[in-house]
C-alpha cells in the first residue's frame, strides 16, 4: 500500500491510462515550465502510456519491440490475479467460518500474489487502499481489506465481526481481476513498475510496518522482489542488447538478494519478521538498495 509517494504513483497512473484518456495529457506539455525535470518525466510517461497499442511510440528513438514482453507480462498479471482471487476466497471463507488458525495460515500466502503485481493495482484507482490499506492510511471509517482482518486475527485473536469485511475484500479482489484485463501495459510501466516494487519493500516491508500484527512481512518482501524479477526477466533480452553490463549487474544483485533471503525460509513460508536481528534487517535493506540502484537504470532500454 502506498500513499506517500506521489510522483512514482503519478507516473504509473499516467502510463496506465485506459484508452481514450490520452488526449488530455497533451495540454500538460504547454506552460508549466517551472518544473521542467518532473514535467518531462511525466510527458514521457504519458506519451508512452497513451494506450496498449502505443508500444512503438514508447520506445521513442529506439526500434525496440516490447510486444512479447508486454504480452508475457499481461499473462503473468492475470495468472497472479487468478491465484489471488482463488486464495483470497479460501482465506475469507475461513474468516467467515470462524476458523482462526486456518485463516492465519492462509493470510500471507494469498497476499503474495497481490504483492507481486502491486504497482498495477496501485494504478487502478481506489483498489489498492481498499485491499491493502494499513490502519491510519485512510480514515478509520473507510478502513477495510486485508490489514483490518489481520488486526482482528492477530491482535484481537478473533474472526468476530469480520464477515462483512471479508465479503468486501473478496469483491474487491474480483474487481481487480476484472480491471487488469483492460489495463494498458507498456514498456514504461514495466520499467517503472519493477523499481516501484522494490521501493515498496524499502519503504514499508523492511521496517516491518506492513504486517505489524502478523509479522509476515517477509512474504510480502519476497513477493515484491519476485514481481520485480519477473519484469527484469522479460526485459532482459532487450537490456542485454542495450547495456549488457547493466543487465549482468542486475542479475547478480537479484541473486545476492535471493541468497540473503534464503536463510529465512521456513517450510513453505517464511519466519516471523520479529525474529530478525537488527543487523539482519539492515543487511536485507542494503542488499535491496544495491539491487534497486542499477534496476532504476533499466529505463535505458526505452531510448531517450
Amino acid at each position: 500500500m502506498k500513499i506517500g509517494y506521489a510522483v512514482p504513483a503519478g507516473l504509473l497512473a499516467a502510463s496506465l491510462l485506459f484508452a481514450g484518456c490520452a488526449g488530455k495529457d497533451n495540454s500538460n506539455n504547454d506552460g508549466n515550465n517551472g518544473n521542467s525535470g518532473n514535467n518531462s518525466g511525466n510527458n514521457a510517461a504519458a506519451q508512452a502510456g497513451s494506450g496498449t497499442e502505443s508500444v512503438a511510440k514508447a520506445g521513442g528513438e529506439t526500434n525496440a519491440d516490447f510486444t512479447t514482453a508486454i504480452d508475457e507480462y499481461r499473462k503473468y498479471v492475470i495468472e497472479q490475479c487468478d491465484a489471488f482471487v482463488k486464495q483470497t476466497e479460501g482465506f475469507t471463507d475461513a474468516v467467515k467460518a470462524g476458523k482462526l488458525d486456518e485463516a492465519k495460515t492462509l493470510y500471507a500466502p494469498a497476499r503474495m500474489h497481490y504483492e507481486r503485481i502491486e504497482p498495477i493495482a496501485e494504478a487502478l484507482g481506489d483498489l489498492d487502499p481498499n485491499i491493502d490499506a494499513r490502519e491510519n492510511d485512510v480514515d478509520a471509517a473507510d478502513w477495510r481489506g486485508f490489514h483490518k482482518i489481520e488486526q482482528a486475527l492477530w491482535q484481537n485473536n478473533t474472526t468476530e465481526g469480520m464477515t462483512d469485511v471479508a465479503d468486501r475484500l473478496l469483491k474487491d479482489a474480483q474487481l481487480l481481476r476484472a480491471k487488469v484485463e483492460t489495463a494498458g501495459i507498456d514498456a514504461n510501466l514495466l520499467v517503472t513498475g519493477a523499481v516501484e516494487l522494490l521501493n515498496e519493500v524499502s519503504s514499508s516491508k523492511v521496517t516491518g510496518e506492513e504486517e505489524r500484527y502478523s509479522h509476515t512481512d517477509l512474504y510480502d518482501f519476497v513477493a515484491n522482489v519476485e514481481g520485480a524479477q519477473k519484469i527484469y526477466e522479460l526485459l532482459k533480452p532487450e537490456l542485454a542488447k542495450k547495456d549488457p553490463a547493466l543487465e549482468q549487474t542486475i542479475g547478480e544483485r537479484f541473486t545476492a538478494l535471493t541468497n540473503e533471503l534464503a536463510p529465512f525460509k521456513s517450510g513453505e513460508g517464511y519466519v516471523s519478521y520479529e525474529t530478525l536481528k537488527p543487523e539482519e534487517v539492515r543487511r536485507l535493506s542494503q542488499n535491496l538498495d544495491a539491487l534497486a540502484e542499477p534496476l532504476s537504470n533499466m529505463g535505458t532500454i526505452l531510448g531517450v
Binding site: 525535470g37 514521457a44 542494503q286 544495491a290 540502484e293 537504470n297 529505463g299 535505458t300 531517450v304
Partner: protein
C-alpha cells in the same frame, strides 16, 4: 554548474538593491579598493549587492587560508572557492578547515577486488566533479532515467569542497589479498582507559571526509558517493560537524569548540613544509610505497558532558585546559600564541599551568605533535536523559598513529582533567592515500602497486 545563472543571481540581488549596512561592509580591515580588486567587480552597485558581499567574504576567507591565490589575483569567486582535487597530497588535510564536515565510514560488501577497484575509480571521477562544482555523470537530462547527479548542489559553487579518502585496517584482512600491504604500525587503536565506545560509531573499511563551506555541498558529496557505492560498499556510520562559519568570524581567528575554548592554537604551521614532513606526511622511508605522500587519520567521536561543564566555574574550566577562555592564551600569559611554559610556577612553587590540564598533558615535552582538524557536532537530544548530545568530532592527521596519536591519547586518557567533562563514544583510524594525478584513481598504488 552554470556560471551564467550565478552571475545573473548576483546581479538580480544587486538590482533588487538588497541593502547592506555600510558599517558591516567597511568595518573590515579591507579598503574599498581591496574589495574591488578582490571581487574583480566592475561597479560598486554590484559590489553592494548581497551576492557581492558574499563574494568578498568568500574571497577573503580563501585568501586568508592560503588556498590558491585565485581570490587575491582577482579571479572570479567561483575559482576562488575551488580547491584542486588532484595533487601530490589529498586535499582536506592541510587545507584550513572549512565550515562544515560530513564524515562517512563505509563497509565494503563485495569480495571481488575488481569491484573495489571500480568503486575507487568511480569515486575518483565523482570526486573530481564534486570538488569543482560540476554535475556527476552524463545522464542528467534523460527523461527515462534517474539523473546521475542527485541535483541538490546544482547551481552552487564548489564552496571549498574537499574529499579525503582513506582505508581502515579492516580492509587489509583476507578479503582482497591486501594483508601483505598493511603498514606495520597501522592497526585498530588500543583501548584507552575511560573509553565508552559504541559499535555504531566505530571502524570501517573506507572513509570519506567531506568538508565544504556549505553543508548542502558537503552532504551532496557523501550522498552521491554512497549512492555510487551501492552494491559494493555500504555506509557504516556518518557524522556531521560544524564550526563557526567564515562569515561569522571574518577575522578568521581560531575557532572555539562547544566548551567555549579556542581549539587549534597549538597546531603546527601547515605552511611549514619541514614540519609537515615530520608530522603529517608518510615519506618513502616511512612505510609502504603506496602510502608515500599519504597520512593517517584518527577520528574520535567525543561527547561532552555539556550540562556538567556548564556548572563548573571559569577558573575550573581554565585549569582544565591550562588556557584562558577569552584569549586562548596559556594561563598566566596574555597572547594566544605565547609558548606553553610548563615550568612556570607561582610564589608557592605550584605550576601555573596544571600538569594534568589538557594542554600540558597533550603538549608533553613538545616532541610529539599531531595536526588536529576537528569539528563540533550536535546530534540532537539524548532521549534517555534529555541532555544535549553534542561534542567534538576529533580528527587528527599524523604520519604514525602509534608514535603520535596513541602516545598522546594514552597520557590524556589516564590523567586529563578534561575527562570529567567528556566521553569517547566513537573511534576509527584510516590510512589516507597519497594524492591522485589526473588519469589515476584513489588508492591506485595500493591495488596495483
Amino acid at each position: 554548474m552554470n556560471k551564467k545563472d550565478k552571475n545573473s543571481r548576483n546581479k538580480a540581488d544587486a538590482d533588487h538593491g538588497i541593502p547592506v549596512p555600510e558599517t558591516k561592509l567597511f568595518n573590515t580591515k579591507f579598503s574599498r579598493r581591496d574589495m574591488l580588486r578582490l571581487t574583480g567587480a566592475s561597479g560598486l552597485g554590484l559590489l553592494l549587492g548581497g551576492g557581492g558581499v558574499g563574494g568578498i567574504m568568500a574571497a577573503r576567507q580563501a585568501a586568508g587560508r592560503a588556498v590558491p591565490a585565485a581570490a587575491a589575483s582577482g579571479q572570479n569567486e567561483e575559482q576562488a572557492d575551488t580547491i584542486p582535487f588532484y595533487g601530490k597530497h589529498q586535499a582536506g588535510i592541510l587545507t584550513p578547515a572549512q565550515n562544515f564536515l560530513c564524515f562517512a565510514s563505509f563497509d565494503v560488501t563485495t569480495t571481488k577486488v575488481s569491484d573495489l577497484k571500480k568503486l575507487l575509480e568511480d569515486w575518483t571521477a565523482a570526486a573530481a566533479a564534486l570538488t569543482s562544482g560540476t554535475m556527476i555523470g552524463t545522464a542528467n537530462d534523460k527523461p527515462n532515467l534517474p539523473p546521475t547527479d542527485t541535483g541538490e548542489a546544482d547551481g552552487l559553487t564548489p564552496s571549498g569542497c574537499t574529499l579525503t579518502f582513506g582505508a581502515g585496517p579492516a580492509l587489509f584482512d583476507s578479503r582482497f589479498g591486501l594483508s601483505g600491504k598493511r603498514p606495520a604500525s597501522f592497526t585498530e587503536l588500543p583501548a584507552f582507559p575511560g573509553d565508552s565506545l559504541e559499535p555504531q560509531w566505530c571502524g570501517g573499511d573506507l572513509c570519506v571526509q567531506a568538508c565544504a563551506d556549505d553543508m548542502q555541498v558537503a552532504f551532496h558529496a557523501i550522498r552521491n558517493l554512497a549512492r555510487i557505492a551501492r552494491g559494493t560498499a555500504v555506509l557504516r556510520w556518518t557524522q556531521e560537524g560544524f564550526q563557526r562559519s567564515g562569515s561569522a568570524d571574518p577575522s578568521g581567528g581560531t575557532p572555539r569548540n562547544l566548551l567555549g575554548f579556542k581549539d587549534g592554537t597549538g597546531n603546527p604551521d601547515v605552511t611549514d613544509e619541514t614540519q609537515m614532513r615530520n608530522i603529517v606526511w608518510s615519506g618513502s622511508a616511512d612505510g609502504p610505497a603506496w602510502m608515500n605522500g599519504g597520512t593517517y587519520l584518527a577520528v574520535r567521536r567525543v561527547r561532552f558532558r555539556i550540562e556538567v561543564w556548564d556548572r563548573s566555574s571559569l577558573s575550573d574550566q581554565e585549569a582544565t585546559f591550562g588556557r584562558h577562555r577569552q584569549s586562548g592564551a596559556p594561563i598566566g600569559a596574555g597572547d594566544e600564541f605565547a609558548e606553553l611554559n610548563l615550568a612556570a610556577a607561582d610564589a608557592s612553587g605550584k605550576p601555573v599551568i596544571p600538569p594534568d590540564s589538557h594542554s600540558a598533558l597533550a603538549h608533553g615535552d613538545g616532541s610529539v605533535k599531531i595536526l588536529r582538524r576537528s569539528y563540533s557536532y550536535s546530534s540532537g537530544m539524548d532521549l534517555k536523559t534529555g541532555q544535549l548530545d553534542a561534542g567534538l568530532v576529533f580528527i587528527s592527521f599524523q604520519k604514525d598513529l602509534m608514535k603520535q596519536f596513541v602516545s598522546i591519547q594514552q597520557r590524556l586518557a589516564k590523567n586529563d582533567r578534561l575527562n570529567e567533562y567528556m566521553v569517547h563514544t566513537g573511534s576509527a583510524v584510516f590510512a589516507c592515500f597519497p594524492g591522485v594525478r589526473e588519469g589515476g584513481y584513489i588508492g591506485e598504488l595500493l591495488l596495483e602497486g
